[in-house]
Subunit: 462 residues, 2 copies
């Protein structure tokens, strides 16, 4: 009979994390088989110690090899499958060790100088692997939060005819096949043909999320976003991930802040253990500020833009050093202002709300004062702006006026205005730079180190 | 003092789904307030019935309004906030109804003819909203499965210098700002400048996942993928989502199949209730085939490509109708062949394994027979190919040979070969077309209806 079933394993074998977390501290030896890569080797006269990790958690396992069971070519980076007895360790710093009958299935060294220019090997470093696991656990915690609040995860398009905030540095997309060879330019007529209109990579999912929030009430997504930013700072990537949430039937910008604060405190508390390795040699002051921010029961500070400017001006006039840029109502807050507010004035995260209309995008809801919009930026110490959000203008006449005032083409936003013509409801939401959150939580300063394969101007390995 | 705390809600108010699932069937009336959109209105002499939904679940709530409490302009699509008593319904087909003291906060009709050409309103239809909720719950179930197996969720790049399988119809990316106006062509020199090399949108995350599996052992992602496919079929989108998993320390392609089968059966079983609305008027035969596939304990059929071709040939020579394309060893399986295998021969999902080397990409692991590779396609009734996977060639000499044989440029795959030079381990994985899975599960035939905002050749609304 040809329909033969294959021999198949019933489940995947346990990872090192699963193995360690399932063990009872009985002191008895457990026979195990596991696979991983050698992280370090220390040869002594009668015994060799080798640390093995499979990337499932930060701590590896120390294997203890007798000389006759130690291959001479056992080196860092070698992949091994190992059988042995797992016993509680007598050494300090680890709970278990493996006494081995081992054979490496491959064996090659991983020279450290390789790492910098070899992005494909970078994930094998402990720090980078810990960062990748942190991304995963932050995401798990955020999802639990949203799911408990009945938000639905949705997928918004990456290709769009719209550039959301207007004037962003966008990327343009066209089919490659129209180019005679990969070294040459895409043919614009083929592009015009392909989607019948100019096509860009999204810079934000917000407008699309608003479409879906008008059906499912509460939606969120973690989506790649793209900015053709040429500035070479440690806060910018050409490709980055944005967590965006949008929901209907909300009337106060403070309620948006509340969801941001609650979800982030959850993350700070629940992902603390994931962070241990990353903060091992970290800056004490930063770590303390992070721990202060995670305290439940102590709400993060909120202040209006107007009050923030007053405080900045007070400091400017009283301090000998002062700011490079003069703070004034109606002017954008500079990075130095933002950092002073969160690091010096407040000493923690601060929601700055109700910015002047002229400083913010067209879609934010006008306040009754006629001068400001119902929005906020969340500023955190050592990072600056982490989250931006607002109520969205749900009144079609106000929205049309704002589109005109910003000099945008009304016909391009017809569908967006339509959302207000039919079943319009008050709504709001926010966007959070995922790599900035990882940077804040891990103490890794450069956002390029907070993503598996970073892309920035002039740089795209792999 | 300027640091005034805002008045903020302590949690978001309950959605209709949360309300209904928290109720005890005591028969007592519960006073509630809820927000949503009107789905239908039926006016009678002494009473008006209006169905309200907020998108949190398929079933809405029926509101019963006295004439004096019924606004004359209460119409489909209007957004309302409603207060009333929730009581068990005497009518058939619903468990609860709302007796109202109501005021609509906005009121506009949503004409049905709007929907087809108005993608921004499409999500408000019951079917589309149910499809969106199904995507979310499928994803939740898949994530639980992977998390239980100690997989880490990772993010792979969308922008890449690599086109994975070679010869795919890719999209090319360049900064828009180099174009003098949005109607004109991107400037290729600006592009060359931006990333220092030609840049494409990813067609698959696999090669990048292999990089990360060599560190974290088990990884998966749901990533947007792009193909500049000009064919107008109901199986293709220019932008679609691929679920891809990759893991190390695996030696049999049957073990990859096992993970696919186990995870998908989980999804079929756990998301069954989400599907009720979508299958209301669905095809009985398709629904039965889906339910058969979800039976635990009955393994999905596996057969080799070689055996599959024998069966196809047997049928071809015995049947009067036969296939349009002659089946033969070494030739690709056509859509008609794939459907016959799953719908007629097997009557369910079937893994076809070990295809000829010449039919598959360079990275698949060579079998010992020298003619085939350790791979599979999962074919399901009414859909065709749903999943493709393989062991990956972990032996560097075999891989280099395959790169040469496929006429690929060795220098472009240097980093990929490197993964085999340092700590190479046997590994494998698969990719699943997410919209095809939704199509299979929901009975919605066209994949364009299985994504919130579909993009295909000549079509990109919003």
């Amino acid at each position: 009979m040809f329909l033969r079933p294959f021999a198949s394993t019933s489940t995947l074998p346990p990872t090192i994390r699963q193995l360690l977390s399932s063990l009872q501290p009985t002191g008895q030896a457990t026979k195990v088989q596991l696979s991983g890569w050698i992280k370090s080797v220390r040869r002594q006269k009668n015994v060799t110690f080798a640390v093995i990790n499979d990337g499932s958690c930060a701590s590896g396992l120390q294997a203890v090899l007798k000389p006759d069971a130690t291959p001479h070519n056992l080196t860092n980076g070698a992949s091994v499958r190992i059988c042995g007895n797992l016993v509680q360790s007598l050494g300090r710093g680890q709970s278990y060790e493996l006494q081995l009958r081992a054979y490496p299935i491959q064996k090659q060294a991983l020279p450290v100088e390789f790492l910098r220019d070899n992005a494909h090997l970078r994930a094998r470093t402990d720090i980078n692997a810990a960062m990748l696991r942190l991304r995963d656990s932050v995401l798990r915690t955020l999802r639990s939060y949203y799911e408990a609040q009945d938000f639905h995860y949705v997928h918004t398009p990456i290709l769009t005819s719209n550039d959301c905030e207007g004037g962003g540095e966008t990327f343009r997309v066209s089919p490659a096949s129209s180019a005679p060879s990969s070294g040459q330019s895409p043919d614009p007529s083929a592009q015009a043909e392909f989607f019948s209109q100019p096509t860009y990579l999204t810079v934000s999912s917000q407008l699309h999320l608003e479409v879906l929030a008008a059906s499912l009430s509460r939606v969120y997504t973690l989506s790649p976003c793209f900015r053709a930013e040429r500035s070479q700072t440690n806060r910018h990537l050409a490709e980055f991930w944005m967590l965006e949430a949008e929901w209907a039937f909300i009337n106060h910008v403070g309620d948006v802040c509340y969801v941001v604060e609650e979800s982030l405190k959850n993350v700070l508390l629940q992902c603390r253990s994931e962070n241990a390795l990353l903060w091992k040699d970290g800056d004490e002051a930063k770590l303390k500020s992070l721990e202060d921010a995670s305290r439940p029961g102590i709400p993060w500070t909120r202040m209006s833009y107007t009050d923030a400017v007053k405080e900045l001006q007070k400091y400017q006039s009283s301090s000998r050093v002062g700011f490079e840029f003069q703070p004034a109502w109606g002017k954008a807050l500079q990075s130095e202002h933002e950092r002073w507010l969160s690091e010096r004035l407040v000493g923690g995260p601060v929601f700055v709300t109700d910015y002047p209309t002229s400083l913010k995008p067209f879609y934010m809801r006008a306040n009754d004062d006629g001068k400001t919009v119902a929005c906020f930026d969340l500023l955190v110490p050592f990072i600056g702006e982490l989250v931006g959000g607002s109520l969205r203008e749900e009144r079609s006449s106000h929205l049309i006026e704002a589109i005109q005032r910003h000099g945008l083409k009304e016909e391009e936003y017809g569908w967006y205005v339509d959302l207000r013509k039919y079943g319009s409801a008050p709504h709001g939401g926010y966007g959070l730079g995922f790599e900035r959150l990882i940077s804040w939580m891990s103490g890794i300063e450069n956002v390029r180190e907070c993503i598996a394969m970073p892309r920035w101007a002039k740089r795209m390995l792999l």
